[in-house]
Structure formats: C-alpha cells, structure tokens
C-alpha cells in the first residue's frame, strides 16, 4: 500500500516539477507547482510528517503560490516577453555537473548507508510528526530560531512594501 502511494505521489511530484521548468507560460508553471506541492504533501504524510504536510498545503500551496499567481497576473506578460529556454555551453556544463553530483550522492553514496531504526520510529515516539511532538521541540530547544524567524517575517513584510509600493 505504502509503495503504491509512494510511486503515485513521486511520479506526480516529478512530472509536475518538470512542468514548472519546461512550460513556457509561467501561469501553467505556477499551477503545476501547486500540484507538485500537493503531491509532496502526500509524500510527507507517508513520512509521518503530519504537521508539516498541513503546513505545506496551507503555507506553500495556499499562501506562497497565491502570491506567485497574483504577481504573474499583475505583470500580465505578452507572448513575446515570456522568454525561451536558453541553453549555452557554460550553462549546459554547469547543469551536467549538478546532475552528476546530486545523482552520485543519491545512488552511490547513500545506498549502502545502513538505516537502523527503519520503520520503527513511529512506535518509539508517541505522536511522531504531530502538532504536539513537533511543538515540544519547536518551543523548547528551538525557541531562538523561532523568534528570529518572526522578526524575519516582519522585515520581509516591511521590505516588500518598501520595494514595491508606488508613491511614498
């Protein structure tokens, strides 16, 4: 069952992710990205990350992507402004390097790693990945990053207004 769901979600993620990169019109890309995020949320549920899966849907697929779609609509690009794929030798080499590097880690280096507590984590921590368990860690040992993030969001709001507002 897990395997079936994993492959459905994984194929969804990869196909939708590829659409983001390949689609010429950014609005299709944005919608594909929303789909990609939903599939990822499914993957997160398989990983028992229930809180993060909800956040993924609400924050990413909800808030952030609405922002993207809104900006794409606002810019209202004409056909000739959309921009083609642009491949040069340097870019090709760079991309190949990334591919080789990341592929190498994924297959060669990580495959023989022994994961000991396979599948057993759920039983070890009560409510693994739930609001209570994650919240405990978040508000006890990570309270400083939490506060820093709140200031970061304030700064981001002010920054966005400073940069994008029309008249002062």
């Amino acid at each position: 069952m897990e395997a079936v769901l994993f492959y459905i979600f994984a194929i969804g993620v990869v196909v939708a992710g590829a659409q983001v990169v390949l689609r010429r019109n950014p609005i299709y890309g944005a919608v594909s990205l929303v789909a990609c995020f939903f599939f990822l949320a499914g993957i997160y549920v398989l990983l028992s990350a229930h809180l993060i899966a909800i956040l993924q849907v609400m924050v990413y697929a909800g808030a952030v992507m609405v922002l993207f779609v809104f900006v794409i609509m606002l810019l209202n690009l004409k056909e000739e402004e959309l921009g083609e794929m642009h491949v040069t030798t340097m870019k090709g080499i760079g991309l190949a390097a990334v591919l080789v590097l990341v592929g190498f880690i994924a297959w060669k280096a990580l495959t023989p790693v022994q994961f000991a507590r396979d599948m057993a984590v759920n039983e070890q921590i009560h409510g693994f990945g739930g609001v209570k368990a994650v919240g405990n860690v978040l508000y006890r040992s990570s309270v400083l990053p939490f506060e820093v993030t709140s200031l970061l969001l304030l700064v981001a709001v002010v920054s966005a207004v400073v940069i994008a507002k029309g008249k002062i």
Binding site: L101, F104, I105, K108, A109, L110, P112, V113, Q114, R140, S141, S142, V143, L144, P145, V148, T149, L151, L152, L154, V155, A156, V158, S159, V162, I163, I168
Partner: protein, 511 residues
C-alpha cells in the same frame, strides 16, 4: 545554558530587535515634521550607542547559549565591534550622501538594524540551522537595501540578480545542511555530540567509513555536503566561484550601503567560516596546536580557492573604469587575501584575519566615503571623476591616497600590518605550498598597486574641467581625517589590536 538564563548574554541582540521596530515607528511619527532626517539619525545613533554599550558590558568567558544554538565567546565580541564600527560609519554617512532620499532614511535605518541583528547572530551561531537563518536575515535585508533606489534601473536589476543568486546559494547550502543532518543526526556544529565532536571521535569516523561500504573514497556524501555548505559561506564572502553577484550589486546599491556590504557581511561570513572550519576540519591537540581531522586536504583546497579569488579579483579590477566596480573586484581580491589566513589553519592565521578585517573596515569605508563625496559633487562614479581632486579637495585626495596605499599593503600604513600578519602566519605554518601561496599573495599585492595607482594618478596628475574647490561636508572631512589617522597609527603600532585578536581566538579550546 537554557533559554531564559541565556538572555543575560543576549542584550545587544535584544536591543537591536527593539531598534528595528523603534526606527519604523519613529519614521511614521516624524513623517511630516521638519528635521526628520536629523531626528532619525539621532534616533539611530541612540540605538547604536545602546547596542555598543551592551556589547561592551558583555560578560567575559565562553558559554553556549540557548541550548547550544549560539555561543558567547571572545570571538563573537570581536566581530560585534567590527559590525558596530561599520554600522556607525554607515549611519553617519547616509544622511548627507544624496543617495538615499530623505523620505526613506527611517526605513533604511530600520532595515540596517535588522541586518546588524543578522550579523550578530552569524558571528555567534554554532548550529547550522541558526547559521542559515542568520544568513537569510542578512541576505533578505541586503536585497532590499540594494534595490533601495527604486527609480534607478541599475539598482533594481542588481537587486533582482542578488535575489536569484542568493536564493540559489541558500538553497544549495540548505541541501548540504540537510545531508549533514542525515549523516550526523544533528545540525549542531560545535559542542557535545555536534558534528565536529562526532568527526573528531575516532569510533564515529570508523563508523562513517563502515557506513559507506568501507572505502575511504566513499565519504563522498559527507564531502559533497560540506562543499555545499561552503558554497553558501563562499557566497557571503564573495569568493570565487560565487563572486558573480558582487560587482553588479556593489554598483547598483546606494554607495553608503555598498561600503557597509563590503565590510559587514564579509566579516560575518568569515566568522561563520572560522567556526565551521575549526569545528569540522581541525582538532586542537594540547601542546601541538590544530591538526587536521579529515583525510580531505581542506586547507589546501581553501588555499587554491584563495589564490584563484585574489588573482581573478585583481586582474579584473585592472580594466574597470567605474569606481564602485573597481572596489567590488578589489573586495573580491581581499576575500582571497583573507582566505589565506584560513588556509594557514592555525591560531595565528585566524588572528591575522581578525586584525585584517578590523583594518579593512577602516580603510575600505574610508575609500568609499571619498567616492561618495565625489559622486555627490560631480554626480559621477568613474575614475575620470577623480581628476584634479588633489587641488579641488586636498584632504579627500590625501586620505584616499592613504586608504589606497593601505589597501595595497605598503609599509607605513595599516593594510601592511594585516597582510604582514597573514603572510607570517602562512610561513610560520611551514610547508612549501604555504610559502608558494604567500608568494602568490605578495605578487597579487603588486598587481593591485597598478589599479590603485591609477586612481592616485587621476587625482594628482590629470587635469579636470573645472578647478573650483569641491564641497565636502565637514562631517565627512572629520570622518576621513580620523579614519586616515587610525590607518596611519595601526600601520606603525598594531600591538594592541593583535593582542585583542589573540585574546579573541588564541585561547579558544577545542570543541
């Protein structure tokens, strides 16, 4: 140390947080008043003074804070003073620079304080997650302040380039962090059970070798993850190959912020690099000093990057005509010089970095201040705009010459101190490659003399179209003279600064 007791060590950061909000509020309150720039500047100086006071009153000693997310130690305090110096100069320079419109000074100061908070956290973070958040704080504000002159096309494009490069760099760095988290089960770098401790522990290393199929070469995931994290740090200090954003951003940003950007975030990047490097790659053996932990020759790799960085920076600077781009490439070259100190992998090397960074703040901000003075009078930022400065504004010209000679590293000036200490640390470490690296550094300094001398030639030997005296605000003259004096003094009498730097790092114990 737990969360609440840690707050005692967290006063400057708390004050900076309040200052961010206070500046935004003050900006709204004084919106329609006269003298609003003056009142905002006084407000900013007030908060900065308060921060400096709290930094001065830091308890001494080394303590992990917030359960090991950040650490309070002398190194952090040293970097805090570097940031404070840079911020003080920036706040003083901004109001008269004509680069930030009067209506937006409050926002500029508020964001600058947020940037300062990020820098403070970068200098003390011992957890990769905290490093990431601090870098993100610094980057986010930097994007905005780069694009602060919204009407300016160059500023907008520079900001967009910066966002894209920065987003990719932080994405790559995060990927490295996530793999490190997987390999070690923690994002903590320093401290018990942290990545550094696990790597220094022999049994843990045996496990690593075993986990990857028993071949030494199969530590690939670890190496790649570390390289990814180093990419994020290299991006902040603008070392090759992550330097591409640097010239564009320096040119597009308002010049007072360019001056800050060239010293503040760069210094903070080095703070992160120093902590990361000495926690993961090296182990302090009592009586012997720092010895390498990893089989991978990291100091040599950093040495090679350093050589490439300074050579590329210096040679590209040779052909620049825009002053800000020229100083951008010069700052890339300086990142290369500073990396030499890291390549030395010794306490002396780090102390030389600290001394050089402090001196670099004085001379680089000074040089930018002359550029600002010239551009506010002539409206241009090209080498040709310096023509005849020797007669039009003798003090500015004289101090710029001092800063330029200092940046080159010519003896009686402070830059020589820094470079001398770096080369000495390399030679002291011994080994043929270190000596070769030092020789490359000396040759690069010789190359840099060419383009710095070009500016001096323009100031004293080129005719300018108008010979009327150039108005330089009294405040600027005062800052220039005092910075010039400090550069002169530190070139001759650097013992106190070196003592301070030694106290900041020499006594640091192993993780």
């Amino acid at each position: 140390m737990g969360n609440l007791p840690s707050l005692r060590y967290f006063w400057p950061e708390s004050i900076l947080t309040v200052a961010v909000m206070a500046m935004f509020v003050q900006d709204l309150v004084v919106r329609r008043r006269e003298h609003r720039v003056q009142s905002l500047t006084i407000g900013a100086l007030f908060w900065l003074t308060l921060t400096a006071l709290a930094t001065y009153l830091y308890p001494s000693g080394t303590t992990p804070l917030f359960g090991g997310l950040i650490v309070h130690d002398p190194l952090r305090v040293f970097f805090a003073w570097i940031f404070l110096a840079a911020a003080l100069l920036t706040i003083l320079i901004v109001p008269k620079s004509k680069q930030v419109s009067d209506a937006r000074v409050g926002e500029f100061f508020g964001l600058l304080f947020a940037l300062m908070l990020g820098l403070y956290l970068m200098a003390s973070a011992t957890d990769l997650l905290m490093v990431y958040l601090a870098i993100e704080m610094v980057s986010l504000v930097s994007y905005v302040l780069t694009g602060f002159r919204r009407a300016d096309r160059k500023a907008n494009e520079a900001a967009l380039k910066y966002v894209i490069y920065g987003g990719v760099a932080s994405g790559v760095m995060l990927y490295g962090i996530s793999i490190l988290y997987g390999l070690f089960g923690t994002t903590r770098v320093v401290g018990d059970g942290g990545i550094g401790a696990q790597l220094a522990d022999v049994s843990s290393r045996l496990f690593m070798a075993h986990a990857f199929g028993g071949q030494p070469a199969a530590q690939l995931a670890l190496v790649v993850a570390v390289v990814f994290v180093l990419a994020g740090i290299g991006y902040k200090i603008a070392s090759v190959p992550f330097h591409m954003w640097c010239p564009d951003v320096y040119e597009g940003a308002p010049t007072p912020f360019t001056a800050f950007l060239s010293v503040g975030p760069k210094a903070a990047g080095f703070a992160v690099a120093i902590r990361f490097f000495f926690a993961i790659f090296e182990k302090n053996v009592p009586g012997v000093g720092w010895v390498a932990v990893s089989d991978v020759p990291w100091p040599a790799i950093i040495g090679i990057i350093s050589a490439i960085t300074m050579t590329l920076g210096n040679f590209t600077a040779l052909v620049q005509t825009n002053l800000k781009r020229l100083f951008a490439y010069s700052s890339i070259a300086h990142a290369g010089y500073l990396l030499m100190g890291l390549a030395a992998a010794s306490a002396a090397g780090v102390q030389s970095i600290l001394v050089y960074l402090m001196i670099y703040v004085l001379m680089n901000v000074g040089a930018f201040l002359v550029v600002i003075s010239v551009s506010r009078a002539t409206g241009g930022e090209h080498i040709a705009d310096l023509n005849g400065l020797g007669t039009r504004a003798p003090i500015a010209a004289l101090t710029l010459s001092i800063f330029l000679f200092s940046l080159t590293g010519i003896p009686p000036f402070a830059g020589f101190t820094g470079k001398y200490l770096i080369f000495a640390a390399l030679v002291q470490k011994g080994g043929m490659w270190n000596v070769i690296l030092a020789v490359i550094g000396v040759l690069n300094s010789a190359v840099s003399l060419f383009y710095y001398a070009k500016l001096i030639k323009a100031m004293y030997f080129e005719e300018s179209r108008d010979d009327t005296p150039m108005p330089v605000p009294g405040l600027y003259t005062g800052i220039l003279v005092s910075l010039g004096a400090m550069v002169m003094v530190l070139g001759i009498y650097w013992a106190p600064l070196l003592r301070w730097a030694s106290a900041a790092f020499g006594g640091t114990t192993a993780t």
